[in-house]
């Protein structure tokens, strides 16, 4: 590729952003960047001057650029049980002060230390086999930021993988919903909520996995209700709703009573996980209170709407 810098100056040629080089420009730094080949650049630089009418060039070699130590996108990588989570490799380009995605250079080299915990495929998609922890590694040669030579060196970044154990149902919010027509038809009054939940693991990290079935047990002899949630299995972000949660009463004036407490479990494939979260509830003709407990303290919560005294 030839670049006649003198011509760019004389003819006021704009760059892609519309900027032109000043007409009185006689010197300045520049850098060349290989936009196609990441990891190992294919550029080299030479200078030649064939017309000195308007200037001259001082010969010299441009300094090379390279990457600092590469690292994984996610470390640790949280893998849902029986689910899939992707990973990749970043590296810091010291010249552009930017982080480049070098994942494709490492494809086909990924391994996990314990395949009974997690496996990994060509493109670094990890599959959780059993609850537990293991490590991943990948390798590739890239140009390093060791000047002046910027050698192409082998690199082998590593990281931790956790196959998550669903442990809690955390609730970000609850909203008051309209009283169902059945209550109106019966002359009853009450409060109902839609309680949002998501599944969290033992470290309180979200388990983003679809298809897990939350179950509730009301302690009333009807056993586990493993399709009580809406939808009956988790969405891809591990969320679900408990709706409608509440009661109405056929009685005049203010009336309250304890409602059945809820215990929870989660079924993923053939594995059933105990969930530490549980609730106690008090429902009234004009209010409702739901206490979520069994979580780490910060995630325990009380939702109170209306009058529950």
């Amino acid at each position: 590729m030839w670049i006649d810098v003198g011509k760019l100056i004389r003819e006021h040629v704009p760059d892609k952003n519309g900027n032109v080089l000043p007409a009185n420009l006689t010197s300045g730094p520049y850098e060349l960047r290989d936009l196609t080949n990441k990891g190992i650049g294919h550029l080299f630089e030479g200078k030649i001057v064939y017309d000195k009418t308007y200037g001259h060039v001082t010969y010299g070699c441009g300094s090379c650029c390279g990457y600092n130590a590469p690292y994984f996108w996610y470390n640790p990588l949280e893998i849902p049980p029986g689910g899939v989570a992707g990973n990749g490799v970043y590296a810091y380009d010291a010249c552009s002060s930017s982080v480049d995605d070098l994942s494709d250079l490492y494809w086909g080299t990924w391994t996990t230390a314990n395949q009974s915990i997690a496996t990994v495929d060509y493109y670094a998609y990890h599959t959780g086999v059993a609850v537990g922890a293991t490590t991943s590694a990948a390798h590739a040669s890239i140009q390093r930021n060791f000047r002046p030579t910027c050698p192409v060196d082998p690199t082998a970044p590593g990281g931790n993988d956790n196959v998550q154990k669903p442990t809690y149902f955390f609730s970000p919010s609850a909203v008051h919903v309209a009283t169902p027509p059945v209550c109106v038809q019966e002359g009853a009054t009450g409060y109902f909520l839609d309680v949002s939940y998501y599944v969290a693991d033992s470290t309180s990290a979200r388990v983003s996995q679809s298809g897990m079935a939350p179950g509730e047990n009301l302690g009333d002899g009807t056993g586990w209700h493993d399709a009580f949630a809406t939808p009956p299995t988790t969405r891809s972000d591990g969320s679900f709703d408990d709706t409608p949660n509440g009661s109405c009463y056929v009685t005049p004036g203010h009336f309250c009573a304890a409602a059945a407490s809820q215990s929870f479990r989660l079924t993923n494939g053939s594995t059933v996980f105990s969930i530490a979260t549980n609730t106690t509830r008090r429902t009234c003709t004009d209010g409702i209170s739901i206490v979520l407990q069994g979580n780490p303290t910060a995630q325990n919560k009380t939702y109170t709407f209306g009058n529950v005294q």
Binding site: A178, D194, G223, H225, P231, P232, D237, T243, V250, F255
Partner: protein
């Protein structure tokens, strides 16, 4: 007998009247499925009624695992009988929500039509929000216009559900 239970009884009687006429085997099978659904719906609704301190209480109690398993075993044969409950008059909310939950458990594309019906404005907002989740679960593509429209729904619950679902497209 309360009004909701009377509505269900009417539905059961409707099934019985049809079942008394001579039928070919396919129709008989459909009527059997219909009768199973009617029985499950009536049992599920009755579980929502209890008494505490002498006061009648009405709470939504999810159907049992066995009831879901029965409906799932019927598969597509259960879709039409369940869809009938969405048009029941008067709507009591719980019955339509049971129907939506069972349709979601079946989960295939044959449930899309009834779930769209359950999303109509004449349904209880909880039923509509559940139906939106059901449409999304059955087909992300089919659900897209419904989710987008629901962002400006009159129900806060439906709007919130739409926002949550929209995030899952990205």
């Amino acid at each position: 007998m309360n009004q909701s239970q009377r509505s269900l009884l009417r539905a059961l009687l409707f099934s019985c009247v049809i079942a008394c006429t001579p039928l070919v085997s396919g129709q008989a099978s459909d009527l059997k499925s219909s009768a199973v659904i009617d029985q499950i719906m009536a049992t599920a609704l009755s579980r929502c009624y209890s008494t505490v301190g002498g006061v009648k209480r009405i709470s939504f109690v999810s159907p049992t695992n066995e009831e879901f398993a029965e409906v799932e075993a019927l598969g597509q044969k259960a879709v039409a009988p369940l869809a009938r409950y969405l048009d029941l008059q008067p709507k009591n909310g719980f019955t339509q929500l049971f129907a939506v939950k069972f349709l979601m458990a079946i989960g295939d594309s044959s449930t899309l039509g009834p779930l769209k019906r359950a999303f109509a404005q004449d349904q209880w907002e909880v039923t509509r929000a559940a139906a939106l989740s059901g449409i999304f679960a059955a087909s992300h593509a089919e659900a897209k216009p419904y989710v987008e429209a629901a962002l400006s729904d009159s129900s806060q619950l439906v709007r919130r559900r739409a926002r949550d679902l929209l995030n899952l497209y990205q």
